[in-house]
């Protein structure tokens, strides 16, 4: 079961339709799933799931970045986690990465800088962010755009960050992550 964490500032928000439903659309035929708002994620939810997807949020919604204490579970969990956009920024914040304001909206060229199981060649991705992360010793950079790091992976954990929106374009990246969890069963 995939736990989708709704990162919108409030539960049952208008942003749910835009940032959570499209993730469900991508994974619904690959795995079972359940959604929890970030303020309601409990240890039992993490214990029950096979992997976690942290959703994105509207551009002006930076609520998760103001509540790092709500995401300490990221440092403790042994479950694979992929954070999309605000999800990646939140991962960066929790692990001590420096966050830098940088606005990118629309299709963005992405260059793969390290061989990885998500993507094999350079691609164009849909961006919608006002912040990006700076490099850090605990994370590998797998791909970047001219101005921002686009894909990261924790060096010792299965924790990934995608700054772009794979639920909009490049859905196969999200599918590969889910399929990998399914093959582990």
């Amino acid at each position: 079961m995939i736990l989708i964490v709704d990162m919108n500032c409030k539960k049952d928000s208008l942003g749910y339709f835009e940032f959570v439903v499209p993730i469900i659309e991508v994974i619904k035929n690959l795995s079972t799933w359940s959604v929890k708002h970030f303020l309601e994620v409990k240890k039992e939810d993490l214990a029950r799931c096979d992997a976690v997807v942290l959703s994105g949020t509207p551009l002006k919604d930076t609520a998760t970045l103001k509540q790092p204490e709500r995401f300490q579970w990221l440092t403790e969990t042994d479950k694979p986690v992929v954070g999309i956009c605000a999800g990646m920024e939140t991962i960066g914040m929790v692990f001590g990465m420096h966050l830098r304001p940088y606005l990118e909206i629309g299709m963005t060229p992405v260059k793969v800088v390290k061989e990885n199981p998500f993507v094999t060649g350079d691609f164009r991705a849909y961006s919608l962010h006002s912040v990006c992360v700076e490099p850090m010793v605990d994370f590998e950079v797998w791909a970047e755009s001219p101005n921002c790091i686009q894909i990261i992976k924790h060096k010792r954990k299965e924790i990934y960050g995608l700054l772009f929106h794979p639920e909009v374009r490049n859905q196969e990246i999200l599918r590969r992550f889910i399929q990998e969890q399914e093959t582990k069963k």
Binding site: S13, F17, E18, V21, P22, L59, K60, I105, S130, R169
Partner: protein, 226 residues
């Protein structure tokens, strides 16, 4: 949060309005009346009917005319949104975008520039499910324009109902058309929806069609009790 709906009078912006009202406060409609029938950004058939729809919805409307030239229409949209922000104190904008990155990113940029929230509640939803949702909510939406093979004059003015959805899904499998018209294959006009206080009665219309392109132009209509 007070929101303005980018409203074309078609099924998507009307459904987006219903979603928005279930979560936040809708303060106004924002409509661009494009003179360009092939506008990349704005739905065009029966855009004048939005005045009746706004009256039925009891919502004020900012309606701006645009020549519909590719990038100039974005400035016109920005001006309309800025006017809505100043007049109705909206804090965000809602669109009915489903698939078009072209449309979505341009509205996102305008909202970012004006420091407004931007919501796209139908974004990347399954298109057949969206069509079923408008049936479930008892929208009366008719096909007001067709612009792609194999759609033709016979489709114009038809109401979206279960058999029509099945036919569109069949055409998707056979010809790859988008079943909800996301690729601009067809446009719709909503004559009734749950939030309408009164429904729209079409008194007269004209069909202008040639091959796989045509419009169902409502030339006279009025609001009547439901």
């Amino acid at each position: 949060m007070r929101l303005g709906i980018l409203f074309s009078g078609g099924k998507d912006s009307t459904l987006a309005l219903h979603y928005a009202e279930e979560k936040e406060q809708v303060a106004c409609l924002i409509t661009l009346l494009s003179k360009n029938k092939e506008s990349y950004m704005f739905h065009t058939p029966n855009i004048d009917i939005t005045t009746l729809q706004a009256e039925s919805l009891c919502l004020p409307q900012i309606a701006k005319t645009t020549a519909g030239e590719k990038e100039k229409e974005l400035q016109d949209l920005e001006d309309a949104i800025a006017e809505a922000a100043s007049k109705f104190k909206i804090e965000g904008v809602v669109t009915g975008a489903v698939e078009s990155v072209y449309q979505a990113e341009r509205v996102q940029r305008i909202c970012s520039k004006l420091n407004l929230w931007c919501f796209n509640p139908l974004w990347k939803h399954d298109q057949k499910t969206l069509l079923e949702e408008i049936l479930k909510r008892r929208f009366k939406a008719v096909i007001s324009g067709v612009f792609a093979y194999p759609l033709d004059e016979k489709w114009l003015g038809k109401q979206i109902d279960a058999p029509l959805i099945s036919k569109l899904v069949e055409l998707q499998q056979k010809y790859g058309i988008s079943p909800s018209g996301e690729g601009g294959e067809f446009e719709t006009t909503v004559l009734d929806a749950p939030r309408f206080r009164k429904k729209i009665e079409v008194l007269d219309y004209a069909v202008e069609a040639k091959g796989n392109s045509g419009v169902f132009k409502i030339t006279s209509a009025r609001l009547v009790e439901k």
